[in-house]
């Protein structure tokens, strides 16, 4: 068993858990967090794909892709959370 196999399986498991959470969670905040878990799972698979048996150096292109993905994900999360805050405020004013 090599690190790429162990963490590749971890990535798939995390992606699957995130997918179930995104579809089945009853709560908006939890759904956003589940999508974030999916993105981490995908990141795991890309990093595993870039890994080479040491002393060989890993492939830098997937690494750059994952860094781009992390930044895009934080932007998407910020917008989703702003929408949640707005929606919650609107619902609270409706009830009053």
């Amino acid at each position: 068993m090599t690190p790429d196999l162990i963490y590749g399986l971890t990535g798939i498991a995390v992606f699957g858990i995130g997918l179930v959470g995104a579809l089945c969670a009853q709560d908006r905040l939890r759904r956003v967090l589940a999508l974030k878990l999916c993105s981490v799972g995908a990141g795991f698979l890309l990093v595993v794909g870039a890994w080479r048996e040491p002393p060989a150096t890993p492939d830098p292109v997937p690494h750059a892709l994952v860094i781009t993905g992390i930044v895009v994900m934080v932007s998407a999360t910020a917008v989703a959370l702003a929408l949640i805050r707005r929606l919650q405020t609107l619902e609270a004013t409706d009830e009053r």
């Binding site: 162990i6 995390v14 992606f15 699957g16 858990i17 089945c24 890994w51 292109v61 690494h63 917008v79």
Partner: protein
């Protein structure tokens, strides 16, 4: 089973999966976010084991630190709006209409099938397919930097990175529009320890962030990691109320949001011409140009991430309350 590092890998992998399950199944939303932050930090550790320190830094700083702060801020706002702010037992504050159990089970079943498909594809994939290693190694002398990931991000695939900065810009515009006229939850009360911590931590964070930016040319680090660490300065300043966003500062903030994208695009256009395409930096100036872009982009990222955390656009305060201008 004699290799201690392999046992470490197995334990870490188990902990990561267990934390992912725990963060989605725990009832309290605050616990959910804290478990997620631990999950993110352990994932970053796993990526260090996979010799991807750049990705690990980005995940720890942006994917976990900034995302965690955003989630906590949103939770605070939701609890304020729903009137459960002071209660210890504030649980799920955003209930949606209950879904029939059958649909949930069907969804979970389909998710399981997708995951199974991914597993088969992963195990069936060739062990080490030809990557871009050789191409990148061959082109590195022309990139102007020594660190391959920075070379890929700022030179070979600079167009992706430019679009990434544009995405951040779009996000901050969207957040300002969405939150327009929204009243802000009162800031949580911070103790004196917190003020002291901020005073000690702020200079250290500035040094670490600048170092990460500078060292990116030859070692793990770079604009995004440095920018996220510097964004932490903004977060601390906002949380300790050392800096309160004023409506008059909106112009400066807007300038800072656009600065990174504008400088990046301008350099790309200016180097084009004379037989070169956009982003094909002249070799003798490559390092200077990359450092210039990284410096400006870092500043932009730091301000943008701090603004995403603050959320609402600063509006004018008057005697009667807030005015949406």
């Amino acid at each position: 089973m004699t290799d201690p590092l392999m046992i470490f890998d197995l334990l870490l992998a188990l902990a990561i999966v267990a934390l992912a399950v725990a963060s989605l199944s725990v009832r309290d939303l605050f616990s959910m976010i804290v478990l997620f932050i631990i999950f993110g930090l352990l994932s970053a550790l796993a990526w260090v084991r996979l010799s991807a320190p750049d990705v690990a830094l980005a995940e720890a700083a942006i994917g976990t630190g900034v995302t965690g702060a955003l989630l906590l801020k949103t939770l605070h706002h939701l609890r304020y709006v729903s009137g459960t702010l002071g209660q210890q037992t504030a649980l799920g504050v955003t209930p949606v209409a209950p879904v029939p159990m059958g649909i949930i089970l069907a969804n979970a079943g389909f998710c399981g099938l997708i995951t199974l498909g991914l597993l088969v594809a992963f195990l069936g994939a060739p062990a080490t397919g030809p990557g871009f290693d050789a191409l990148v190694a061959e082109a590195m002398p022309q990139s102007g930097v020594e660190h391959p990931v920075t070379g890929v991000l700022l030179n070979f695939r600079a167009y992706d990175t430019l679009m990434e900065v544009v995405v951040l810009l779009a996000a901050v515009i969207a957040v300002w529009q969405i939150e327009r006229g929204l009243s802000d939850a009162p800031a949580p009360v911070m103790g004196e320890v917190w003020q002291g911590f901020a005073r000690l931590a702020l200079p250290a964070i500035v040094v670490v962030g600048t170092y990460l930016l500078w060292v990116g040319a030859e070692a793990p680090g770079g604009a995004f990691q440095g920018g996220a660490v510097l964004a932490a300065v903004g977060l601390l300043l906002l949380l300790t109320r050392a800096y309160i966003p004023q409506p008059a500062h909106r112009g400066v903030a807007r300038g800072a949001f656009v600065l990174g994208t504008a400088a990046f695009a301008l350099v790309a256009i200016l180097v084009a011409g004379g037989g070169r395409v956009a982003f094909e930096y002249p070799l003798e100036h490559a390092k200077t140009l990359i450092l210039l872009i990284e410096g400006v982009v870092t500043l932009s990222i730091a301000v943008t991430l701090a603004a995403l955390f603050h959320g609402r656009e600063p509006v004018a305060l008057s005697e009667g309350g807030r005015h949406d201008t």
